[in-house]
């Protein structure tokens, strides 16, 4: 159905009639192939797989009988491209274009392509259905659930699964005060990192003086390793929109903005399409569903500065100014965008709203812990077996996420730390893996919930080097406005550089802590005030590694190049010459069947010789 042809929905009854007609037209027993077209799967070739399916169906003349759904991200990005066959729910992973004819043939015959099924590494058994895969089994998918089942470019798909019914309810059965009260009672807290109670924010914005108010969706996700907001906006843009419309209605705003990174082209285009479709149906625009409420949403593409995820910098950027934060002694709910009351929430926060309105605060606040309600989507990345997006109820222990859902550490190595909350979060050691994911408990441990990045590190990770990585990231991303952040992060980098190159002194550890204090208390915005968390937590939980670097001039994990040396163990070397050939600096020399020699003056310490040696004859120390 093209956008131009649809009739505006004049009231709630019209929406329900539309929903019924969409559902009636659909045959629940029809074969559907759900192909993940999320960014993760696209990167591993989902577009070629999709094209192969289209060609195969056309070739067999089955385009009308088998429904091809290009869905949003399913979450299990590690095993992509993913394909699910409905109604049987057969789950195929790592599908390549050459597998496509076999899948179509097997599906038509009611058979299964065995070799594409997921194998449970624990039992060695092949698993048939998505829900039985351990990665999915441990999750509670409330917000992310429809991401992999509907086509994000079709509003009808969203309406068919009950989409916009929360909006209908909010507009016709609830007063604005009741909506705010429901959100307050639900206990929903901001998913962007701050964890501020959403309902309280809405209420402050509603009470703020001013006839023009704005709502803003923060989709400027910039944490390394985090991509849940991206996937949500790509896969279920209408849930985000629906949340924004409800929020705008409750607050009294008639204009909204989605501030999304330009590096997220699919999110931009899917959100734009969603807005167009919602406009066509009258779910956005004038007199929404005949309620008299007007609301429009525009998309603003960000230039990719990390600091623009900070609310005041984001608003400056939206106004067309340089994206720099300002002091928020007067809150943005009172003076935000163009100095008007502005309610800014994260993508995931907005997407939670329809759920709360539909199923009620009393249902929602049963999920989670005392002070952190609902579910949270994490992007589980790093040295973990099952990379992907994970939605779990608040309060679940970190260990369950990393080991049960994440399938443990890559290559059977030992767990060392997990970093939650992006570059401003901290490292959590193994001794604290029992910690529940909960805003306050993670903060107590020196880390934070943040937007939900979860980077797992194994025994081969040097924590000093890792802290330096994040400090370097923040140094590049600091806007440079205030002294503590601009100079302090730079100097932290200087001290860490000293330590990782073997020139550190014991006083440097105190200096790092002093710098951290200046940053925490003196910075203008949260980028600076939380920047020291990786350093502080690594000092707190992995101090012995710092001491090893400073006192013994050794990097226990073998990552800091200046502190390691490669040498050949003559007794083990067979003289196969592989390292001699592979060394890019020509530092390894030798003759066939004679032990090779590394010239340390030439060696660039890249580690290629160590990696290519099949006889463990290269020593790294």
């Amino acid at each position: 159905m093209s956008i131009e042809q649809v009739d505006r929905l004049v009231d709630v009854a019209a929406l329900e009639r539309l929903r019924q007609s969409i559902i009636e037209k659909r045959n629940p027993f029809q074969l559907r192939l759900r192909i993940c077209n999320g960014t993760g799967c696209l990167a591993s070739g989902a577009d070629e797989v999709t094209a192969a399916f289209e060609a195969e169906l056309t070739r067999r003349g089955l385009s009308a009988e088998i429904n091809l759904v290009k869905s949003g991200c399913h979450g299990f990005c590690e095993k992509g491209p993913l394909v699910v066959v409905e109604p049987q729910e057969t789950f195929y992973q790592r599908v390549k274009p050459e597998h496509v004819p076999a899948i179509v043939a097997a599906t038509l015959d009611g058979k299964i392509v065995e070799e594409l099924l997921y194998v449970d590494p624990a039992t060695g058994e092949r698993i048939l259905h998505e829900q039985e895969v351990p990665f999915y089994r441990g999750q509670t998918r409330l917000v992310f659930g429809s991401n992999g089942t509907i086509d994000p470019t079709q509003i009808e798909d969203y309406i068919a699964i009950g989409g916009y019914s929360a909006l209908a309810k909010a507009l016709t059965q609830m007063s604005t005060a009741e909506i705010i009260d429901e959100v307050k009672r639900s206990g929903l807290r901001g998913r962007g990192g701050g964890g501020f109670p959403t309902g309280v924010k809405w209420e402050s914005c509603r009470r703020a003086d001013g006839d023009i108010k704005y709502v803003v969706c923060n989709a400027d996700e910039g944490d390394p390793g985090a991509y849940m907001d991206r996937s949500l906006l790509e896969g279920t843009p209408h849930a985000v929109l629906e949340g924004m419309i409800i929020g705008a209605h409750a607050i009294g705003a008639h204009e909204g903005y989605i501030y999304v990174r330009n590096e997220y082209p699919l999110a931009v285009s899917n959100a734009r399409r969603a807005i167009e479709q919602a406009m066509a149906y009258g779910l956005l625009g004038k007199d929404i569903l005949g309620s008299g409420f007007d609301f429009k949403v525009s998309i603003n593409r960000g230039g990719g500065a990390f600091v623009c995820g900070e609310s005041s910098a984001l608003m400056a950027s939206l106004e067309g100014q340089v994206g720099e934060p300002r002091a928020k002694y007067v809150h943005t709910v009172e003076k935000g965008l163009w100095d008007r009351p502005t309610c800014l929430n994260n993508v995931e926060t907005w997407a939670n709203v329809p759920l709360i309105i539909n199923r009620g605060a009393d249902w929602y606040n049963q999920i989670g812990t005392e002070k952190s309600k609902g579910t949270k989507i994490f992007s589980l990345v790093g040295k973990v077996n099952n990379t992907g997006l994970v939605e779990v109820p608040m309060g679940i222990p970190l260990r369950d996420i990393i080991f049960d859902i994440g399938g443990g550490i890559l290559d059977g190595k030992k767990f060392k730390a997990v970093q939650t909350g992006g570059p401003s979060g901290g490292f959590i050691p193994e001794s604290l893996l029992h910690l529940p994911v909960d805003f306050d408990r993670l903060t107590e441990a020196g880390s934070m919930m943040g937007s939900g990045a979860m980077i797992v590190m194994d025994e081969g990770t040097c924590m000093v080097n890792m802290a330096k990585f994040f400090i370097d990231f923040l140094e590049e991303e600091s806007c440079g406005k205030c002294v503590p952040c601009r100079e302090g992060i730079d100097r932290m980098g200087e001290v860490l550089e000293r330590i990782t190159t073997g020139k550190g002194r014991m006083e440097d550890l105190e200096l790092l802590e002093a710098l951290a204090d200046t940053l925490r208390l003196g910075s203008l915005c949260a980028l600076g005030s939380t920047a020291a968390n990786p350093v502080l937590t690594s000092l707190r939980y992995f101090r012995d590694e710092y001491i090893a670097h400073v006192v013994d001039k050794k990097c226990p994990a073998g990552e800091c190049q200046a502190l390691i040396q490669y040498s050949i163990i003559s007794e083990k070397c067979t003289g196969c010459m592989v390292c001699v050939r592979e060394c890019p600096s020509h530092a390894v020399t030798g003759k066939r069947r004679e032990p090779a020699v590394i010239d340390l003056a030439v060696c660039s310490k890249c580690g290629v010789c160590y990696d290519v040696c099949r006889f463990d004859a290269v020593k790294r120390a």
Partner: protein, 231 residues
Amino acid sequence: MKSVTVWVDGNTSVEVIEPKDSRAVHLTVDGKLIRTTPGKSLLEAVWNRPGIGNIPALCYHPIVQSYGACRLCTVEVEEQGRTRFVASCLYPAKEGLVVRTDTDRVRQLRKGVLELLLARCPEVKVIQDLAIEYGIEKPRFALGVQDCILCGLCVRTCRENIGRSAISLVNRGIFREVAAPFYAYELGDGCVGCGDCVYVCPTGALKLGPDGKPVLPKVHIPRPAAEGLLR
């Protein structure tokens, strides 16, 4: 006339008599009762008041809007039992606020900021003097060679008072610097040569050139390791 109760440090309160239509706000700064007009910042409210410690500030100037970049004017405020550090040039004076401008923690914080500034600009007199006042002998970092602390006063006065925006702050982080449009260091027709920027510069980084226009300080990247990150 009306009577206003003002709390001075937690348990003690005083009654203040005010005209009926008074909008004045009362706050306690370093144990002294201050009466000021609403809308003023804390720094403005205590500016030149006898008996209150001198609050250092390098990016503040009364002729432009406050910016909050140098953080030296940070003070401790107590509001509804909660203590926190705020930049006094931006924090609005509010009724009943308890402000401390010279506590150990405040001095410690300023010392930390000054050490960073001194490391960046070791030759700047005003920073050297403040560093001595706050007990810094030598920064524990590699010394830079700059005069500009990026307070933005020159840029702000050019925009707010002269209406020209002949210069602005470009780039970010440690690569930030003052430049003319299109990243030029020579000022073109945008500059009217008023010299206001030179006048407000707290460190003397901006000087008037022979053509009557300011000579912009070029930022040198502090560490070799940082080269190649940007640009």
